[in-house]
Amino acid sequence: MSGAALPLRAGLPRLRPGLWLACAVLALVFAWAVAPSLFTARSPVEGIPGAQLLPPSWAHPLGTDGLGRDQLARVVYGARESLAGAFVAVAVGLLLGTGLGVLAGARGGWVDAAVMRLVDTLLAIPALLLSLSIIILLGFGSIKAAVAVGIVAVAQFARLSRAEVLRVRASDYVEAAFGSGGRFAAVLWRHVLPNSLTSVLALAALQFGSAILALSTLGFLGYGAPPPTPEWGLLIAEGRDFLARAWWLTASPGLVVVLVVLSAERIGRGIGGPSP
């Protein structure tokens, strides 16, 4: 778990136990999102009358909430909301960011200068405030919150992909490709993009974790999916009202978020690329 990875091995996927565990955690949570009914027979939105705030038991492994809803079902179904949001966020950041970065790196000149000043501007606004500004513009909702989180990630993707394009462009084989008459777009597609892919993928994995965190924060503040949608941040916010009587309601979704974010970060580092 050394912080400074050896540069020689950075490109190889290191299959250590921690990485396997991270993959297993993410696989499980993805399975929750795809087929939640395989993991719980209970409804995430309909409560059982008279079964409010039960402590964890065999029937309800994570207890029940203030409306008698099974907490495990809420957490399992919540994976769909949180993972879908994180995917949208990373897709927005990745597409816009790499688009801008590749454009800047490939074109150079004033285009480069303009894009990089835009990136500086995005980085100058604290991440939470930037996403809140976009939310005030778009309104509340899970997709809107996801887009807001994605826009925050644009700057990092743009920076990385621009640096990658500049790095690959300076290499001999790209020189050779141009020298042998390769057209600009073709060289970009065949040589620059594949060679930048690893580090962009690594960043995407890291950003996936950050997006889960940011989305849960927005959900907690009430700007994401409206109740009774099971969303992890919202679950924590709802559980807060019963903190003195039922601590497991806030503890369980929070622990799931921590595990998912840790796993995404571990996989991002495993792919290799920018060190955290």
Binding site: A124, I125, L129, L132, L137, I236, W247
Partner: protein, 312 residues
């Protein structure tokens, strides 16, 4: 040479500031259309009254005039009027800023101590298993949602242990948990950078030379490691500031504290764009100024850089 570098750097900072203001204006004032209209439509005013209010808020002017007007206001410290509270935004900021700054400053101090402790244990700690374990702590700290950490701390220290009363807390009791909540995630990137720097410095030839000459461990730490490992953390100041502010916003929401965070939350809930615009621009200005100060101070603190520039 130096003067040119200074002018270039200041010019760049001003450019980013202007661009940030423009972005905030576009996002919050131009694109949403008529925030004033949305707000007052709910009150069921007559068209005449609406027109009057729009005139009063300057919402009827063409966009470029609104832009110039708002920009002029920001330059002179007039951040507009809060639609919700009906008072100048500058007044709201002045009321709420001190509490948040105090919280952020205390949290930063706590985070620095925590980061130094972690970095010390991770690089100089006795057993190798301990060093390895401590090295994975920052990753964990980054993965914890701030708001959840706050709630868990309340659960642990107020409900389980009963150390911190919720009903009528002493001033230190009121701040202890929020400070800890913000400090934990902030300490993580600091600790990571410190660990990396200390590792790098300990592997430097000059450390080996100093040891070979008979320098003690403490001497090496004091004269080689401390300076070389601490200085680069300065470059993180701007990013940490943004994280502190974001952390404070969320933490104030969790603990029900008054401050910039509460103000931000209300502004988003009420679509009070003028307030959010001012908060965004002011915090971006702070970020840009911090980075500018670090850039200009760094060669002064690290003579190697100044020499390098003069030689070049």
């Amino acid at each position: 040479m130096m003067a040119r570098h200074l002018a270039q750097r200041v010019g760049q900072a001003l450019l980013v500031l202007a661009a940030t203001f423009t972005l905030a204006f576009l996002l919050l004032q131009a694109l949403p259309g008529d925030a004033v209209l949305i707000k007052f439509l709910e009150l069921g005013l007559t068209p005449d009254q609406l027109a009057e209010i729009r005139l009063a808020y300057g919402a009827d002017a063409p966009l470029w005039r609104q832009y110039l007007h708002t920009a002029g206001g920001f330059l002179t410290g007039n951040f507009g009027t809060s639609i919700r509270a009906g008072v100048p935004v500058a007044q709201l900021l002045a009321e709420n800023l001190p509490a948040t700054l105090l919280l952020a400053a205390l949290a930063f101090a706590a985070a620095s101590l925590l980061a130094l402790l972690l970095a010390g244990l991770a690089t100089l700690g006795g057993q190798s298993w301990l060093r390895g374990l401590v090295r994975s702590v920052p990753s964990l700290f980054v993965a914890v949602p701030v708001f959840w950490l706050g709630i868990m701390l309340i659960q642990l220290f107020s409900f389980q242990l009963g150390w911190i009363s919720i009903i009528s807390p002493e001033p230190w009791e009121e701040l202890a948990l929020p400070v800890a909540t913000i400090a934990v995630p902030i300490s993580a990137p600091l600790a990571q950078v410190l660990i990396r720097n200390i590792d790098a410095v300990l592997a430097e030839p000059f450390v080996a030379v100093a040891r070979a000459k008979g320098a003690s461990h403490a001497w090496v730490l004091r004269w080689h490691v401390a300076r070389n490992a601490l200085l680069p953390t300065l470059t993180m100041a701007g990013v940490l500031f943004g994280e502190l502010l974001g952390g404070a916003v969320v933490t104030e929401a969790v603990f029900g504290l008054n401050g910039l965070g509460g103000l931000t939350q209300q502004a988003v809930a009420n679509q009070d764009v003028a307030v959010l615009q001012a908060i965004v621009v002011v915090s971006a200005a702070a970020f840009v100024l911090i980075n500018l100060a670090v850039d200009l101070l760094y060669p002064v603190l690290d003579p190697r850089l100044a020499r390098g520039r003069r030689a070049a």
